[in-house]
Amino acid sequence: MTSDFVFELEDDPVPIVITFGTILKHSLSNPGHAAIARSITGCFSLASTTDPQSLTITIHGNHIHIRHGISDSAKIIVRLDFLKMSEPGYKPSVEGHWRHPLFAYKIGQLLNFPTSSWADDAKRFWDSAHSLAGMPKTIKFTSTDENRDLLFGEGDPEIEISGESKNLSHLLSGSTVLIGEVLAGRIRIHGSLHHLTILSEATLKMMLGEFDHG
């Protein structure tokens, strides 16, 4: 449980800080990850290799502080593609690991977020978002690589969303926003502009931790 961790975000946090706060809270509900976090003291920075976003996380006991930017006092700086960080075999570049090898090792474990299946992510997304105003009454998600459909709601689907499992998982767990994924061609939809917009808003809310999904 994360209840014994105290999260403190910077004042007026930027999106990446909010997003990472949400991801970390979720991740620390896993007892193994919580134990790793409790064994860490110090701060580390994460910098995106795909855009200028960066953040610094300071862990001290059960207190976790997150702010934007790279800190001078960071023991290590991890440069990575945030979207790929949970993919098997993905190797971000790490500065400072020679000076702080154990710290770097633990951070590596901490950032290896427990993965959930796209189906679990889809269920959690639907549970969180289905009551938003304007949401489709029924959604069909299709994994194109698993060749598997999931239907949420009742009746015929008002919108169909399809893509590879990993892209669906990114989308439905708050790592990406629907419209961005559709424009990039990683996700396909069959539905109205209205529902595309409402679902894009819902995925943005997921990204910014505006749904309470524990």
Partner: protein, 465 residues
């Protein structure tokens, strides 16, 4: 050829004949304060007067980069992307004066069957003015336009990524009212004021402002809708003269280090022609109505910041001792307060609202100011004590207004008065647009720690706001 605007009593066809107008440029102002519209031939314009002529519904639902709002929804939109319409307001039809075949007409966004759209900034402002009229009052308002003028053309400015532009002026000193500085802008401003005269725009004067290359232009007060129309038209004229002169101009709130550009807004109320802000029987000449009006504006000011400072760049303007107010305060002849009251005589008594940034949407800016006043009257809100000190450099214990786009949006979300008067769906939609602006800045390359405007801000705002 005269430059008389169209009068309702005249036959439209004969007015168009008399002015040789074959093409009418229609325009409406979207949420971001951007004028959008079409060049219509005369036949199309006259044939579609009743319900207006079609325009994509994205014209009212796009950000400053021209991207359709795809993470926020308002019920005026079509579920599969469709058309709305621009309905001409013939009271605004004027000949161009410079272009012998061209006329101009300001429009409201409506549905294709002519039904009003509440999200249209001009429609919403008109509704508030009617509401005040129903209370028996008439509002007069004006906007002060501030902008920066550069010798570089827009093409050159773009090539230079808007860096190291040559500001127009005699010196690099941050002076104000210096005639030597103003003279460097005179040829440009002569052309601007000539075109304003042709448009029938009642400008009062212009002068050198504090920033190097900064100019202020003042307009004669009018009813709020007309002054918002005039402000948008004037900005377009200034832009067009810059293009024609191979120069560039920007209404960004903070385009270069130093002084920023604001849009101070003055307003007053009358009833049957009598000034109602003034009461000669009161020791300070402030009427009870003025006190409630000010009380409402002060109470709603934290939320109003969102409309008055709409962009990421707007907030770079809010610094100590640089002219913009930082606190929800009011005072007689106090330019450090958000509300400067001027009560020298009944005729001159007015409120100068000093918070607005140069990049605001004048319809929304005036609407949120009037909404504050209406809230004050409706709920009999008493103002705080007059602030008789300098409202800058104050100890931390003095509450500041929101200083970021997100905190301002949050304050607006918490303001039940503004939602009640401006319309909750419209306020909620606006809040989402500000969140989108914030999100775009941070995820598209904006540097949250930059002390000066970032390349993202220049690319998004310099030529558009």
């Amino acid at each position: 050829m005269d430059n008389e605007p169209f009068r309702g009593e005249e036959n439209l066809e004969s007015w168009l004949d008399r002015h040789h107008v074959d093409v009418i440029r229609t325009q409406a102002t979207n949420l971001e304060g951007v004028a959008v519209g079409k060049y219509c031939n005369r036949r199309k314009f006259t044939k579609t007067l009743t319900h207006g002529h079609a325009i994509s519904d994205m014209s009212l639902a796009m950000d400053l980069a021209g991207t359709l709002h795809l993470t926020l929804w308002h019920d005026f939109r079509h579920k599969t992307l469709g058309d709305i319409a621009l309905k001409p307001d013939l009271d605004t039809l004027i000949p161009d004066g410079n272009d012998p075949n061209l006329g101009h007409c300001i429009c409201d966004f409506v549905q294709v069957d002519g039904t009003p759209i509440n999200l249209c900034p001009r429609t919403n402002l008109k509704r508030l003015v009617r509401e005040i009229a129903d209370m028996g009052y008439e509002v007069k308002a004006t906007c002060e336009l501030e902008f920066y003028l550069f010798n570089d053309s827009f093409n050159d400015a773009r090539r230079k990524k808007y860096q190291n532009l040559e500001a127009v002026g005699a010196s690099k000193l941050k002076t104000i009212y210096y005639l030597r500085n103003a003279y460097h802008a005179k040829t440009f401003m002569d052309e601007v004021t000539k075109r304003l005269d042709w448009y029938g725009i009642d400008w009062e004067g212009w002068s050198d402002e504090n920033g190097v290359g900064q100019v202020e232009l003042n307009l004669n007060p009018s009813d709020p809708v007309t002054i918002a129309d005039t402000t948008v038209r004037t900005k377009q004229v200034i832009y067009e003269v810059a293009v024609d002169f191979d120069m560039s101009v920007t209404f960004m709130a903070h385009p270069i280090p130093g002084f920023s550009s604001g849009m101070h807004m003055h307003h007053s109320l009358t009833k049957n022609g009598e000034a109602v802000f003034y009461d000669a029987d009161k020791p300070d000449n402030y009427s009870d109505l003025l006190r409630h009006w000010v009380g409402g504006m002060i109470k709603t000011m934290p939320g109003a910041v969102s409309y008055l400072c709409p962009t990421i760049n707007s907030y770079r303007r809010l610094t100590e001792f640089s002219a913009p107010p930082l606190t929800a305060t009011w005072g007689e002849e106090n330019k450090s307060c958000a509300l400067r009251l001027i009560s020298r005589s009944a005729d001159l008594t007015r409120v100068e609202h000093r918070l607005g940034a140069g990049d605001l949407n004048p319809y929304l800016g005036l609407a949120v100011i009037l909404a504050g006043g209406i809230a004050g009257l409706r709920h009999q809100i008493a103002p705080p004590d007059e602030f008789n000190h300098i409202a800058w450099g104050l100890p931390e214990s003095f509450k500041r207004l929101p200083r970021t786009i997100t905190t301002a949006a949050e304050a607006l979300g918490n303001d039940s008065y503004l939602k009640e008067i401006l319309g909750a769906p419209e306020v909620e939609y606006w809040i989402k647009t500000r969140k989108l602006e914030w999100f775009s800045f941070h995820t598209e390359g904006g540097d949250p720690d930059a002390k000066q405007p970032t390349p993202w801000e220049y690319a998004r705002y310099f030529e558009i706001v």
